[in-house]
């Protein structure tokens, strides 16, 4: 089973294109109108196969699945993913947020079927998948969550005074960014330069893979490559939301549940291993740790994770009479 590292050894980087072994462009790409927001949808696999909804993480895009999705599709599924609003090829709109992303997910799901489908989510996409399943349990047949399960991240040793300082810094930084970004755009770079910048947040992903991602997730402007991510967006954040609230909804999910995590710490990771998660996931949940991987488990070990997913889902249902095939 080739890992990302194995595949990376055989990657070929050119000036403005990269061949990455196993990476396949989507079989179909189209747009769904989500109440006035144009959402770019990408599919891998037979258009008549039963759909599986796959949700990418924050600051990512659907084509991060270019290696993983074809492996799942080869098991008889139609893997359907989309670029979240203000990500990838979806429309840049004035506002984004969890509730809006959830509504967009509902529009994509509605475009596929009125029935239930398996849903797979990574990171923020995992959090969205949990909320989708909690909100609409009748539309989610199976849930697969890749390092997007909430953990209790409290800071009991941080005083109110220190907490206030942290919030103050975050607020000022966020507002200053909003003032600047109103007229700005993302910084351009060479293909390899953009890959190296992303490596700061994704230190476990190989340079070759990140170069490939640039070619499918960035725009090649006359002055260089820039990520197709809304310049208004910024890492980090603040707000009233508490992880505890998401944890409460997790335990009550009744559909078959597979949680997949890595065991290596990294900046984007949710830092919740099997032991931390076990008390909060549904009693029937199956948790799997893929050794030697970090936050991007399905990118680092696509074959292993695809095998886990296919084994968990079992044989795809024959016929997909209740689904709408992509045109």
């Amino acid at each position: 089973m080739p890992s990302m590292i194995d595949r990376s050894r055989n990657a070929v980087i050119r000036e403005d294109s990269v061949d990455f072994p196993g990476a396949q462009a989507p079989d179909r790409s189209y747009r769904v109108d989500a109440a006035g927001v144009g959402i770019a949808v990408h599919e891998w696999g037979d258009r008549h196969a039963p759909p599986l909804l796959a949700i990418h993480g924050g600051f990512d895009f659907a084509r991060t699945l270019d290696v993983f999705a074809p492996l799942v599709a080869a098991g008889g599924w139609r893997v359907v993913s989309w670029d979240h609003r203000n990500h990838g090829d979806s429309e840049l709109v004035a506002m984004h947020g969890f509730a809006a992303d959830l509504r967009d997910a509902a529009w994509v799901l509605k475009s596929l079927t009125d029935g239930a489908v398996p849903v797979l989510g990574h990171s923020k996409g995992g959090a969205l998948s949990l909320r989708l399943a909690d909100s609409w349990p009748h539309r989610v047949s199976h849930l697969i969550n890749i390092d997007g399960m909430p953990a209790r991240r409290k800071m009991p040793d941080v005083s109110d005074t220190e907490r206030t300082k942290l919030l103050s810094t975050e607020l000022e930084g966020w507002l200053d960014h909003h003032r600047r970004a109103s007229t700005g755009q993302r910084k351009s770079d060479t293909l390899e330069g953009l890959a190296r910048r992303r490596a700061k947040m994704n230190p476990r992903l190989t340079h070759e893979w990140l170069c490939y991602l640039v070619t499918v997730g960035a725009r090649h402007d006359p002055d260089g490559w820039r990520w197709k991510i809304d310049p208004m967006m910024r890492m980090g954040g603040f707000g009233p939301w508490r992880p505890d609230w998401a944890i409460e909804g997790l335990a009550g999910l009744a559909m078959p549940f597979l949680g997949i995590v890595g065991d290596q710490s990294e900046p984007m990771g949710w830092e919740a291993g099997e032991e931390e998660l076990r008390p909060f996931v549904p009693r029937h949940a199956r948790l799997e740790t893929v050794a030697g991987t970090g936050h991007f488990v399905h990118i680092e070990e696509p074959d292993k994770v695809a095998a886990l997913v296919l084994e968990f889902l079992g044989r795809p249902p024959s016929g997909a009479a209740q689904t709408r095939a992509a045109s």
Binding site: A94, H96, R103, F238
Partner: protein, 227 residues
Amino acid sequence: MMTLVHGRVRLALYALRDNAGPHLLLLHGLGERSPEQVPAAVDSWRGSVHALDLTGHGASTVPSGGGYSCEVMMADVDAALAVLGPCTILGRGLGGYVGLLIAGARPTLVRGLIIDDGPGLAGGGVRPGSTTITVPDASVLGRVGNTPDPYALLELSNDVRPPDYAESFVRLALQGPLDEPISVCSVARPPWLAAVAASFGVRTESLASALTRLAVLEPLLADPNGA
């Protein structure tokens, strides 16, 4: 009317009275829009009076597909502060809560906040209820694309407001130059506002009293040697 830019949104900022002296910025309630004239209740303010239409309200942009939060509305107000400079803020309902956020985020630019009754004061309570996915019914709430934006009505009425989160913004507001930067004049006291009203640095008083107190303090802050 002046048009401000906040990302992909154009915001309408009105100068209701353009006197010399301290700025008073009015923030409307949920579903409302800026008044066309200086309201009688604030007529005593001797400086200039401005009013801002928040995103999805009045003459400001209605974005596609919602995504509203009070934190984004806070950044709307910050766009006004970038143009006006230091202001005292009077917020009705939703505007009162948004005013609290910006008073904490920009404690040196917000020279006093007055929180008054108005639509959207309570928000969605102290914690979320059972989850669901709701798409606004334009036939009931109004045509999407018009103001007030149905998505604003839906999302900002469900905005969760834990009391301790609100209290943290009071603590931040105290980092500014005023000893008592916040006045609560409202009759209604949803949990977040009850917590704010009970906090150090917050005064419970009438609207008239708050306007008088803050109008006197603001010039002293602007020119401490000239007083």
